[in-house]
Symmetry: C2
């Protein structure tokens, strides 16, 4: 859709994609503070999850949960946060955010006032490691889950 | 699990439940600020979505998306926000939050610093209306989606 950021740009470093959705690594300050932070973006402009068909939702969530699993394996976070908000950019996308007890905001959500503005985050996984692990996990999950 | 709030209390006004999960209406200030705000809580103590089996995840998400659809129909919000965080209470639960352009925080997430601390929220849907609509929507979605 014209004027929609997620229709016009990739929205991060591309990790994986198919015709329906793409996985990107979040760049900038958010990505630096929460290393491994990825977004899963529906390719078509759709506003709400309940605007997708049942099969489309299932496909998207399989990818979201596969990214969660890949990030748990790669980054060993203390918790994973998942969110689909879209108040600023109403184009379906999921935040998959690794969290650590000593991160900038823990245990508050990443959108709250920082509790540790001076924290030093872990190094981010390399794009290559992320691509390899995410692709393998999506293939495995699409093969029937566990 | 002993010491887990969501293992020990219902966590709101019960709207719907089965053996696997329950839907509650959020009480208190959050519920007053975001009328219709519901949580979908997995009955068993599980930490992450990727700790559930594929069938369990699919069941839970069918309920989450049915609650989203019911809230869209009942409350006509400008946007729905979905989130599974669990940093404070690491027991799988989903926030399903109706948002309006003039609500306390829009377009920021509800966990950010309030932009309109003096806003007056809409009245919440009655528990009866919520129960009727959520039950009907879950039954319809479990019948195969759309």
């Amino acid at each position: 859709m014209s004027g929609c950021e997620l229709c016009e740009i990739v929205g991060g470093e591309l990790v994986w994609q198919d015709e329906a959705c793409r996985v990107v690594r979040v760049d900038g300050a958010e990505g630096a503070d929460f290393p491994g932070f990825c977004r899963v973006i529906w390719q078509r402009h759709v506003r709400e999850m309940s605007d997708l068909t049942d099969a489309e939702r299932r496909h998207l969530m399989t990818v979201v949960f596969a990214v969660e699993l890949a990030l748990r394996e790669l980054c060993q976070p203390d918790k994973i946060n998942l969110a689909s908000l879209g108040n600023v950019t109403p184009h379906v996308h999921w935040h998959v955010i690794p969290r650590w007890q000593d991160d900038r905001n823990f245990p508050a959500p990443i959108w709250a006032e920082p509790r540790r503005p001076d924290h030093v985050a872990r190094p981010a996984p390399s794009l290559e490691a992320l691509r390899t692990r995410v692709s393998a996990t999506i293939s495995a999950e699409q093969g029937g889950g566990h």
